[in-house]
């Protein structure tokens, strides 16, 4: 059983939905983000999405863009992030997903990246700008190394295409709840449950929903239709509340706790 199967089985036993937390690695710098991630994992997050900062993040809204710029200015690199994952792995058995844009991975070298990810306890890749048509470029390398590829499905994805995307999926499938870029919204789209029902029927693995989820009530509502909920921008933004890092981490941990509670 891989780490994803373990965690989703545990969630089912405890009759709750999984909380997937996205954190931009290196924001505001690597040591603080490492502390933050440990706090987030200890506060009830079940799966970690480790965001790799990139200068031209097509899918991300202003909050995560800014976090990425800060992380890049602080000198954060992919090798640093992988090494951090290795340290985190000594404290947790929860799944870790590397959330990245393709060019950063290409520059690192896919073969080497797959090896180093496995050696440092990273379970999966979510490559935002590699859709189904380009997936074969990375799939063989990932599969050989034992890296799971997390597919994305959007509200605009037609059912036939959905079927192809999720065929043979491992880990989980990520459903983008709203149109547009990442970033907290005030309400959920009306047809969310319909789309998620279709997708869950087609998917061989659990389906988590994310993009635009902020308050715990919203997470709870989304959780009714999915196997888990992703929260990203709201966590990144929570860190901006306090200038003092320890205070910010404590506040963010409390926020993650409230999200986890809402999913019970």
């Amino acid at each position: 059983m891989n780490r994803f199967e373990n965690i989703f089985a545990q969630c089912r036993r405890e009759n709750r939905k999984a909380l997937v937390a996205y954190v931009t690695a290196g924001n505001p710098n690597l040591p603080v983000s490492e502390k933050l991630i440990r706090a987030v994992l200890e506060s009830g997050a079940d799966i970690l999405e480790l965001g790799v900062p990139f200068s031209d993040p097509m899918a991300d809204g202003p909050v995560i863009q800014k976090a990425g710029q800060i992380a890049l200015r602080a000198g954060t690199t992919l090798p640093d992030i992988i090494a951090m994952a290795g340290r985190l792995r000594q404290h947790t058995d929860k799944p870790m997903v590397l959330f990245s844009y393709y060019n950063v991975m290409l520059a690192y070298g896919l073969e080497k990246l797959a090896r180093d990810c496995v050696a440092n306890g990273i379970d999966a890749w979510l490559t935002v700008d590699v859709p189904l048509e380009e997936r074969e470029e990375i799939r063989p390398t990932a599969e050989r190394a034992g890296i799971v590829l997390i597919p994305l499905v959007s509200p605009a994805t037609p059912p036939e295409r959905m079927k192809t995307i999720v065929a043979g999926a491992q880990g989980f499938v990520y459903y983008i709840t709203v149109k547009g870029v990442t970033g907290a919204r005030t309400e959920l789209p009306a047809d969310l449950s319909e789309h998620l029902d279709t997708l869950r029927r087609l998917s061989p693995v659990p389906v988590v929903a994310g993009f635009g989820i902020a308050p715990p009530e919203m997470a709870a509502t989304t959780g009714q239709y999915a196997d888990g909920v992703v929260v990203g921008s709201a966590i990144v933004r929570s860190m901006e509340q306090y200038a003092d890092h320890d205070q910010a981490i404590a506040a963010t941990a409390a926020f993650v706790h409230s999200l986890a509670d809402a999913l019970k």
């Binding site: 890049l72 060019n103 520059a107 935002v128 859709p131 048509e133 149109k179």
Partner: protein
Amino acid sequence: MSPKKQEFAPMPDKNGYFGKYGGQYIPENLKQAMDDIDHAYEEIIRRQDFQDELDYLFKYYVGRPSPIYHCRRLSAQCGGAQIYLKREDLNHTGAHKINHCLGEALLAKYMNKTKVIAETGAGQHGVALATACALVGIKCEIHMGEIDIQKEHPNVCKMKILGADLISVTRGTKTLKDAVDSAFEEYLRNPKDFFYAIGSVVGPHPFPKMVRDFQSIVGREAREQFLELTGGLPDAVLACVGGGSNAMGIFTAFLDDENVRLIGVEPAGHGLETGEHAASISKGTEGVIHGFRCYLMQNEKGEPLPVYSIASGLDYPGVGPQHCYLKDIERVEYVTIDDKECLDAVMTLSQREGIIPALESAHAVAYAMKIAGDLPREQTLLVNLSGRGDKDLDFIMKVLDIN
């Protein structure tokens, strides 16, 4: 030059690849919108009413065909090959950009889109698009960095007078890069009803194909005009390359003419050795940026590098995917011209022929001047003069300290 016969017509393949370049490296939530544009494009360009309308506008609105012109005095000064210009600078709005902006605005209208969105740096693409949208009758929203807005006053005024909604982008560096992010974000809010108008032969499929096709009128005209004027084809065709739209525009008609040298001129900025340039094909490495695979100026971490050229229309870290392919198969030679050579060409062309070129286009003129002297007098060089220099006057006065 490659001796083998190449097949160019079916480029790109159905997935948007030119060889290994191009493609659609986009988030899943954009896929459907890109496919919709591709299908609509393929269907609409085959419609007679669309073609008739575009032809009509090219002729009576843009002023096409733009002439080709033999620079006798400039050629005499260079003392060798004869230099000809394709006068895209004479188009309405002063550059080749209007060709694809009209095509894109018209396509958006035929697709019943409610709004056309784009970003602009110096304002050239913004003005051409605002013009096309005013004409076609579709809402136009241009995103521009706050700093660029302050710098480019005449273009900002033009866009506003033309009725475009100008969005001032105040985040990050407040320049082109942030304008791209802001425009893209607005587009992603509703890709079904909005149309994103890319300003060059870059971005995910189908944009490199679409922009090339709309621009290819330049080469089709030039080839016919050259045959008529001289009785033969030029020995070489030259164009500047930033993203590469004017170059693809003129090269496309000549790709199958094996005896015609094609030369793409990239900006060497302060010099290739300084690192301050934007010569993506000459100095870049393969990467994926903004939804497509191309030669890219990037660091070892895969971050795009800051690029520089005296011509703001050329400073892009990537380059159109078809150019990358044409470089690899050696059908096009890619060379560079630095800022100094560019300025020299601006002044020489102005004072020998009474034509003030845009800084971008002057790169191609400069390379023609550079090689003409070593070529026999019977040889001919055709340069795509993609834009006029009106927008650069203040800058040229300042850098050359003209009073």
